[in-house]
C-alpha cells in the first residue's frame, strides 16, 4: 500500500472513531487544516515534474475529497446523535395536568346569555333595545299605563315603595318593564320598534317567585301594525329562540290594563317528567302576554290613537331561560352558587348570533 493510501486509511479510521464534533474537528484540522497531513502532501507537488504532478496531484486531491466527504458524513451522524441525546434528556411527562385558562374558568350568567339571544333575534327584525330606570314614578309605572286609581297592584302588598316625599308622592320599584314603553313613546316619534329587557320587582317570595326578576317587553307603534303582525313576530321569535322548526301557538283573549284587545299566548309543548319540550307534543304552556296598545296609553303619551296604533308584549326572561335550558328553580338564579353558575352558565365566547344558530 502506498503512503498516501495508508494515510487516507488512517485518517478515515480517525474520522470514524471521532466520538463528538470536537474530536472530528481535530481530525479535520490534522488532515485538511493548513498544516494538515494531506495539506502538507499537496505542498510537495510544487517540487515535482509536470507528469509526476499530474498523476500524484490527482491522487492526493481525490484522497482529500474522500476525506472531506467522510468528515461531512461523520459530522452529520454526530449532529443527529447529539440532537437525539438532547431530546432524550429533555423529555418530560406530558400527562401532567396543565392549569385551565381563564376562558375555561369564566362564565356568563344564563340571564345575560338569554338577553343576548333575544337581542340578536329582535335586532334582526329591526328592533332597537330600550331601557329605563328601576326606580319609577307611580305615573310611569301605573297611571300612564291605564291602571285605575284603585288597582290592587298599587298596594304595598304587591309593589315595593319608597317612603313618601314631602309632596306626598312616593317612588316605587318598577313592577314591569312597561314604564319604558311610555318613556319611549314620549321621547321619540313613531315608527317605534323596541325591545326592553330589564330588572323588575314585586313583593313576592316563594318557590316560584322572587322579589326581583327579569322581563323583556316589546313595543311596535306606527300607522298600520295590527294583531296579525304581532302574531307573526311572536311566532317567529319563539321558533328562533327555542331553535325549533315549528312552534304551535294559541292566542287566548285576556285582560291587561294597558292593552286592548289583550291576549295570553300558549305555546305547544310536550311534558315528560320535569322536562318541557317546546315545539312538540299536544300540551299547552302559557308563555307571554300581549295585546294592541290601549288607546288611553297612546293618548297618555301625547299621540292620537286614531292616527297611530301598535302592539306590545311581555314575558319573563328568567322563565324562558328555565324553559330553554332546563333550570328547575328560579331562586337559584340569584344565589350565585358557583356550582350552579358553572353548570348552567355559558362560556365567555359563546356569543349568541344568528349566523351559526343561537347556541350552535
Amino acid at each position: 500500500m502506498s503512503d498516501l493510501a495508508s494515510l487516507e486509511t488512517e485518517i478515515l479510521a480517525a474520522v470514524d472513531g471521532a466520538a463528538d464534533e470536537a474530536a472530528l474537528e481535530g481530525v479535520r484540522v490534522a488532515a485538511l487544516g493548513k498544516k494538515g497531513s494531506i495539506s502538507e502532501l499537496l505542498k510537495t507537488l510544487g517540487a515535482m515534474s509536470p507528469d509526476e504532478r499530474r498523476t500524484r496531484g490527482a491522487a492526493i486531491n481525490e484522497a482529500k475529497d474522500r476525506v472531506a466527504a467522510a468528515i461531512a458524513d461523520r459530522r452529520g451522524v454526530l449532529r443527529r446523535a447529539a440532537i437525539e441525546a438532547r431530546l432524550s434528556r429533555e423529555t418530560v411527562d406530558v400527562t401532567l395536568p396543565v392549569r385551565p385558562g381563564p376562558l375555561s374558568e369564566g362564565r356568563i350568567h344564563p340571564i345575560s346569555q338569554v338577553i343576548d339571544e333575544i337581542t340578536a333575534i329582535f335586532a334582526d327584525m329591526g328592533f332597537s333595545v330600550a331601557e329605563g330606570p328601576d326606580i319609577e314614578t307611580d305615573h310611569y309605572n301605573f297611571t300612564a299605563l291605564n291602571f285605575p286609581a284603585d288597582h290592587p297592584a298599587r298596594e304595598m302588598h304587591d309593589t315595593f315603595f319608597f317612603n313618601p316625599k314631602e309632596d306626598g308622592s312616593r317612588l316605587l320599584l318598577r313592577t314591569h318593564t312597561s314604564p319604558v314603553q311610555i318613556r319611549t313613546m314620549i321621547s321619540q316619534p313613531p315608527p317605534i320598534r323596541v325591545v326592553i329587557p330589564g330588572r323588575t320587582y314585586r313583593c313576592d317570595s316563594d318557590a316560584t317567585h322572587t322579589p326581583m326578576f327579569h322581563q323583556v317587553e316589546g313595543l311596535v307603534i306606527d300607522r298600520s301594525s295590527h294583531f296579525g303582525h304581532l302574531k307573526w313576530i311572536l311566532e317567529e321569535f319563539l321558533k328562533a329562540f327555542f331553535e325549533v322548526d315549528h312552534v304551535k301557538t294559541r292566542f287566548r283573549p285576556s285582560f291587561f290594563p294597558f292593552t286592548e284587545p289583550s291576549m295570553e299566548v300558549d305555546v305547544g309543548c310536550r311534558r315528560s317528567g320535569s322536562e318541557i319540550r317546546i315545539g312538540e307534543g299536544d300540551d299547552w304552556l302559557e308563555i307571554l302576554g300581549c295585546g294592541m296598545v290601549h288607546p288611553n296609553v297612546i293618548r297618555n303619551c301625547g299621540l292620537d290613537p286614531d292616527e297611530v296604533q301598535g302592539f306590545a308584549w311581555g314575558m319573563g326572561i328568567d322563565r324562558i331561560a328555565m324553559l330553554k335550558y332546563g333550570m328547575p328553580d328560579l331562586r337559584a338564579f340569584f344565589d350565585a352558587d358557583v356550582r350552579w353558575l358553572k353548570h348552567y352558565g355559558f362560556r365567555p365566547l359563546d356569543l349568541p348570533n344568528l349566523l351559526g344558530g343561537l347556541t350552535s
Binding site: 401532567l96 395536568p97 381563564p102 376562558l103 374558568e105 362564565r107 356568563i108 350568567h109 340571564i111 345575560s112 337581542t119 329582535f122 327584525m125 329591526g126 332597537s128 333595545v129 330606570p133 328601576d134 326606580i135 290592587p152 298596594e155 304595598m156 302588598h157 315595593f160 315603595f161 319608597f162 317612603n163 313618601p164 312616593r170 317612588l171 320599584l173 315608527p191 330588572r199 326581583m212 294583531f227 296579525g228 303582525h229 302574531k231 307573526w232 294559541r250 292566542f251 287566548r252 283573549p253 285576556s254 285582560f255 286592548e260 284587545p261 295570553e264 294592541m292 290601549h294 290613537p305 340569584f334 344565589d335 350565585a336 358557583v338 353558575l341 358553572k342 352558565g345 365567555p348 356569543l351
Partner: protein, 807 residues
Amino acid sequence: MKFTLSWLKDHLDTEASLNDVVEALTMIGLEVEGVSDPSAAIKPFTIARVLTADKHPNADKLRVLTVDDGRGGEPVQVVCGAPNARAGLVGVFAAPGTHIPGTGIDLAVGTIRGFESRGMMCSERELLMSEAHDGIIELPADAPVGTSFADYLGLGDPVIEIAITPNRPDCLGVRGIARDLAARGLGRLKPDTVEMVRGAYPCPVPVALRFPETAENACPVFAGRLVRGVRNGPSPKWLQDRLKAVGLRPISALVDITNYVSYDRGRPLHVYDAARLTGTVHARLGRAGESFLALDGKTYAVDETMTVIADDAGVLGLGGIIGGEASGSTEATTDVFIESAYFDPNRTARTGRKLGINSDARYRFERGVDPAFVLAGLELATMMVIELCGGEPSEAVMAGQPPVVVKVVDFPVSEVKRLSGLDLPIAEVRAVLEALGFGVAGFGHDLAVTVPSWRPDIEGKADLVEEVVRIIGLDAVRSTPLPRLASVSAKVLTPIQIRTRRAKRVLAAEGLVEAVTWSFVSEAQATLFGGGAPALKLANPISADMSDMRPSLIPGLVAAARRNADRGFGDLALFEVGQIFAGDRPEDQSTAATAIRRGTARLIGSGRHWSGASGPVTVYDAKADAFALLDALGFDVSKAQVVRTAPSWFHPGRSGTIQLGPQTVIGHFGELHPAVLEALDVAGPIVAAEIILEKIPQPKAKASKAKPVLAASDLMPVRRDFAFIVADDVEAARILKAAEGARKGLVGGVQVFDVFRGEHVGEGRKSVAIEVTLVPSEKTLTEEEIEAASQAIVAAVSKATGATLRG
C-alpha cells in the same frame, strides 16, 4: 268561578260536549283552570247481580260467585272474600282491566286457589266512596243491572272552574258565561225567566240611603222586600248539590238562595231575619268606634271610609262584603227581609282589603255588578223563597236609583280590520255584538253600539274590536310579516348597552364567573359602601336583608363569596355588571362592572399546582381586572391616573382610584378593608375592582373608520437598564412618567422589571429598576446618542424623584 255543566245548561240550550264547552271557554277568554268530573273515576263500574254464591272448596273464607253483569252474556265467575256476598245481592261490578281507584291497581283475570276470577264485586273503599271495607256494596234489589254505577248515583255533572279576568264581572254568574258561549255559537241563550212578583201588602220594613253628598256613589240604590210566613230549613237536594259542587257549604234554604243567585246571575243578595231588625234599614258610612260581629264569626271595627248597612239599633253588616250575625236568618226565621243593592266597586275593594275579608259578594261588587239587575235579582230571589220556603211577599221598596248609564260607542266597522287585521263582513260584526247583548244601530259601515249594563269594561272602539275578535276567534287572524323598515338592520344598541355586553364578556374571559345578585342589600351593607340614604330605603322591604338599594355591587358579591366559602368553595372569582343607585332619580342610576377575587383565585388559576401555587390574591389582581376591562372597552389606559384615594371600604395602603382627574372618577380597585370584611362576617383576602361604565369617556366620533397609517421603523430598537435608589414612598408612576418624558420621540417604552428593598439599599429606601426602550426613527443610534439619552433619562428621573443611580 266554578259551575257545573248542568247548571250551564239551565241557561244555554246546547248539544255541545264537555270538551267543546271547555275548549270554547278558553278560546273566548274564560280560561279553564280545571275540570273535575266526579264520575270519571267510577265510570267503568256497572251494577251487577250475584246469581249464585258457593263456598270455595279450597278456602274457608272465600266464595265462588256467578254474576250477571247485565251484558246478556254467560254469567261471570268471580272469587270473592266478602262476608256479605250471597245469591241475589245487587252490587257494583268491575270487569278485568278496570282501574280500581281505592287500590291503585288495574284489575286482571286471576286464579285464586284453583278457581278463575273474571272480575270483582267492589267495596266502598275500593271506589274511594268511604272507608267501609267490611263487605261489598249492597244496592236496592231494583237497581238497574248493567247500567253505569256513576249514572245511578247521579254523579254525571262535571264541574268546570274558570279564571275570570277583572274586566268581566258579568261572567261571575253562570248566565253571563252562557251568553258568551251562545255568541260563540255553542248553543242558544235560553230566555230569562225572572218575572215581577206581585206584592200582597206594602213592605213594613222602611229603607233609606243616608250618605253625605261627597259619598253618594257609595251606594246609589238599596232595595228590599219582606216575605212573611216562611219555613227556613235545609234547601232541596238539587240546590245543595249545586252549591257543594262549586265549593259552597249549604246552610239553610234562605242563605242558599242568596248564594245561588250570586253564582247564577253574579248578583249578590243578603237576607235578614225581619224580627231582628229595628226601624229603618239603611246604608250609610261607618262611624269610628262602631263594630259588629260578622257571619264569619269575627268582629270588625268599621270606619268612615266604609259603607255599612245599619238599622236604628246599629251596624248590621258591611255593604257588599259581609252580613252580621245578629240580624242573620236562622232556622227559626219566619219573616225574611231580602236586600238587593248596588255598592261602589272601589270603596268595596278598599274596605275588603283593609279588613282582609274575601267574600263572594265583595268579589262581585268590587268588579262591578249589573246595576240594571238590582230589582230583577230581588224578584228572582223572592220567587225562589216562595217556591222553597213558602210565605207571602210584600211589595218591593227601593231607596235611590240604579246607576244605569247608557253608553253608546261610535264604531266604524273598519276598526276591526285596522287593529286586528281581520276582514269581516259587517253583518258578522253586528251579529257577534248583538249576541253579546250590545244594541247595534246605524247602517252600513258606521255603527252606533249601545253597551249592555252588565259590561262596565267596555269604553270605546278598541273594546268592541276585542269583543268581535275574541268571539270570532283569534285563530282566524292570519300571521302577517312585519315589513322591514330598512334592508339591513342598523345598529340597535346604545353605547352603554354595548359597554355592558362587552364588559360581561371581558370579565368572563378574565376567568371570572358572572353572578346576578339582588338590587337591594341590608342597611348595614349599604352604609358600609357609602349608601343607606333615606331616599333609597324601601318602605316595605320583603326582609331586613333587602331594605336598601345597593350603592355598589361589592357587598352583594362579597355576600355571595361568603355563601360559596361556607359551602367549601373559598377560592372564587365573581363578577356582576348591573345597576347601582346614588339617588332616586333616573340619572342617579348607573351601571357598575365589578369583579371580586377571593382566596387564591388569580388570573393564572387558583390553589396549588405542580407548576407553582398561585398564592393569595393581591391588589394587583384587582388592578389587572380593572385595566383589562377598560382596555377592552376602548379606553386608552395610558391616560388613566391611578391615585391612592380609594373609598373607605378599601385597605388604605392597598387600593387605588382610577380617574381622569379628581372630578372624573372611573372606578376603584384594591384589597377590601379588614374591618369591612369583619363587618360582613367573611374571611379575606378579598380584592375588588369596580368600574362605572357611564364614567368612561365616550371616544369622539370619527369621520372615517380608517385607522392611521402604521409608522413602524425598520431600525432596531435599543434597550437600556437603569436601577434607581429612591425614597420608599416614591411611586413608580413618577419614575415611569419622568423616564417617558425624558426624550420625547425617542423613548418608546419603559418597564419596571425589579423593585427591591433591603440592607444594600438602606433604611427607608428602595431600588426600582427600569428597562427603557429607545426607538430610532431615522437612522441607527450611535453610542454617543445612546449615552446622551441615558444621561437625560437619569437626570429627568433624579429631578422628578430625587433618585440616584444605583452603583
